[in-house]
C-alpha cells in the first residue's frame, strides 16, 4: 500500500485511539504509581506517559492530593453536647428496655423447652383422669342423681368424703381386677398358641431329620 494514499484523518484517528488506549492503561495504574507500588519498568513508562499527556498528569496530581487529604477527613469534632445527648438517649433506651422486660420475661418463661415437657405431663395427667386408661374414671363415678336417691338410706354421718373415697377405691380395684383378668386371658391365649405352633414345628423338624 502506498503511504501517500492513506487519508490524513485516518492516521489521526489511529493516533487518537492509540493515545486513548495508552491513557486508559496509564490511568489503571495511576493509584499504584502514586503509592510507589509499581515495578520500575512500569513506573518509568507511566512517568514518560505523564510527561506527554496533560490530562493524565492532572488526574495523577488529583489522586496524589486525594491520597494526602482523604485520611484527614477521618474524624470531625462533634458539636457541643453530643456526648450528653447520646447518654440521655441511651438512658432513655435503658429505662424503656426495663419496662419492656416484664412481658418479655414471661414470654421467655413460656418459650423455654422445659415448659413444653411440663405442659405435656400435665395434659397426660388430665387425659388420664378423664378417660378410662387408669381404670378409675374419677368424675364419671360421681352421679348426683344417684347420690340424691341414695342419700335417705344412709345416716348423715356416713355421707362423708371418706365414705365416698372408699366407694371409689373399691370400684377402682374392681376395674383394675377386670383389666388384669383380661390381660391375663390374652397372655394365656398367646402362650398356648405359641406352644402349639412350636410343637407342630418340632414334629415337622423331627420327621424331616428322620
Amino acid at each position: 500500500m502506498n503511504h501517500e494514499q492513506v487519508p490524513e484523518h485516518f492516521t489521526q484517528q489511529v493516533l487518537d485511539t492509540l493515545q486513548l488506549d495508552a491513557c486508559r492503561q496509564a490511568q489503571a495504574l495511576l493509584d499504584e504509581h502514586a503509592h510507589n507500588l509499581l515495578p520500575l519498568l512500569h513506573a518509568e513508562l507511566i512517568r514518560q506517559h505523564l510527561e506527554n499527556c496533560s490530562d493524565c498528569r492532572a488526574l495523577h496530581t488529583a489522586i496524589v492530593m486525594l491520597n494526602a487529604r482523604l485520611p484527614a477527613l477521618q474524624s470531625l469534632r462533634v458539636p457541643q453536647g453530643f456526648t450528653a445527648s447520646v447518654m440521655q438517649r441511651t438512658v432513655l433506651q435503658e429505662v424503656t428496655r426495663r419496662h419492656e422486660q416484664k412481658p418479655r420475661r414471661f414470654v421467655a418463661w413460656l418459650m423455654r423447652p422445659r415448659f413444653a415437657l411440663e405442659s405435656a405431663y400435665a395434659m397426660t395427667v388430665i387425659v388420664m383422669l378423664f378417660s378410662d386408661l387408669t381404670g378409675v374414671n374419677a368424675f364419671d363415678t360421681f352421679d348426683p342423681a344417684l347420690w340424691e336417691r341414695a342419700r335417705p338410706r344412709f345416716p348423715e354421718s356416713a355421707m362423708t368424703f371418706e365414705h365416698l373415697s372408699t366407694q371409689l377405691s373399691e370400684q377402682a380395684e374392681q376395674q383394675t381386677e377386670k383389666m388384669t383378668t383380661k390381660y391375663d386371658d390374652t397372655a394365656r391365649a398367646i402362650e398356648s398358641w405359641t406352644r402349639e405352633k412350636y410343637t407342630a414345628f418340632r414334629e415337622q423338624y423331627t420327621a424331616l431329620m428322620r
Partner: protein, 229 residues
C-alpha cells in the same frame, strides 16, 4: 441526671493497652465487657472514643451537620442496644460500628428521598455553611489564610464526594477515609474481595475526575468574577 463531660482518667488509669482517651489508656476488650454490663461510665468512655469518627462518617454520607449529628446519636443507640450481639474482638469493632452507621445513613437517605424527592439534590448542592464549625482537623498554628484554604479544600472534597455514585462514596468513605481494610469493606458491602479491590481503584479515579471538573468550574467562576469586578 447530670451527664457533664468528665475525665475518665480516674476510672481507667490502671488498664494496660492501646487506646488512649483524654490521656488515659483503655483496654478496649475490658471496656466492651463493661459496656455489655451497661456500666454508664464505660459507655460514656466508649462514646467519647468513637463519636468523632461516627460523626465524620455520617457527615460524609449526608453532608448536613444537624442530620449527621442525629444519625450518629442514633447509631450509638443502636450499638448500645445490640452490643451483646457483638461477639468479636476489638479489631472487628470498628467495621461493625461503621456498618451500623452506614445502615442508619442509608435508611435516612431513603426516607428523605421518599418524603422529599428534591432532598437529594439539595444535599448535593450544599453550601459552605453546612461545614461543621468545630473542626479539629485544622492546624492550630496555621494562619487564617491557610485555615481558610484547608477548609475550602475539604469542603471541595465533600462536594466532589456527593457528586459521585453511591457505591463510590461507600468505598471512599470506608476505605480511604476511615481506613478500613479491603476485606472489612468487602464484608460490610457484601461483595467479593477482588471486586472491592478493583472498584476501590475505579472509585478513586472517578472522584479525582469530579474533583478536577469542580476545580475547573471554580477557576472559571473566579475568572468571571475577577473580570466583572
Amino acid at each position: 441526671m447530670n451527664w457533664e463531660p468528665f475525665s475518665v482518667r480516674s476510672v481507667y488509669n490502671n488498664r494496660t493497652t492501646n487506646f488512649t482517651l483524654e490521656g488515659a489508656t483503655i483496654d478496649i476488650e475490658q471496656l466492651l465487657q463493661a459496656c455489655r454490663r451497661h456500666e454508664p461510665l464505660a459507655w460514656e468512655a466508649f462514646v467519647r472514643l468513637y463519636q468523632h469518627r461516627l460523626y465524620a462518617l455520617s457527615f460524609g454520607y449526608l453532608r448536613n451537620t444537624a442530620e449527621a449529628e442525629e444519625l450518629a446519636q442514633e447509631a450509638f443507640v443502636h450499638v448500645f442496644r445490640n452490643l451483646h450481639q457483638f461477639s468479636g474482638h476489638a479489631a472487628g469493632l470498628e467495621p461493625w460500628l461503621f456498618a451500623i452507621t452506614r445502615h442508619c445513613c442509608i435508611d435516612r437517605q431513603r426516607h428523605n428521598k421518599a418524603r422529599l424527592p428534591s432532598a437529594a439534590n439539595s444535599v448535593s448542592n450544599g453550601t459552605d455553611d453546612e461545614w461543621p464549625e468545630h473542626d479539629e482537623l485544622l492546624d492550630a498554628g496555621a494562619t487564617p489564610e491557610q485555615t481558610l484554604a484547608t477548609k475550602q479544600d475539604q469542603n471541595m472534597l465533600y462536594r466532589a464526594l456527593q457528586e459521585t455514585s453511591e457505591e463510590t462514596r461507600d468505598l471512599i468513605l470506608l476505605k480511604d477515609i476511615q481506613g478500613l481494610k479491603i476485606e472489612e469493606v468487602a464484608n460490610i458491602l457484601g461483595l467479593p474481595v477482588g471486586t472491592v479491590k478493583s472498584k476501590c481503584h475505579r472509585a478513586k479515579i472517578e472522584l479525582a475526575k469530579v474533583l478536577l471538573r469542580l476545580g475547573a468550574e471554580n477557576d472559571l467562576r473566579d475568572s468571571v468574577q475577577g473580570a466583572n469586578s
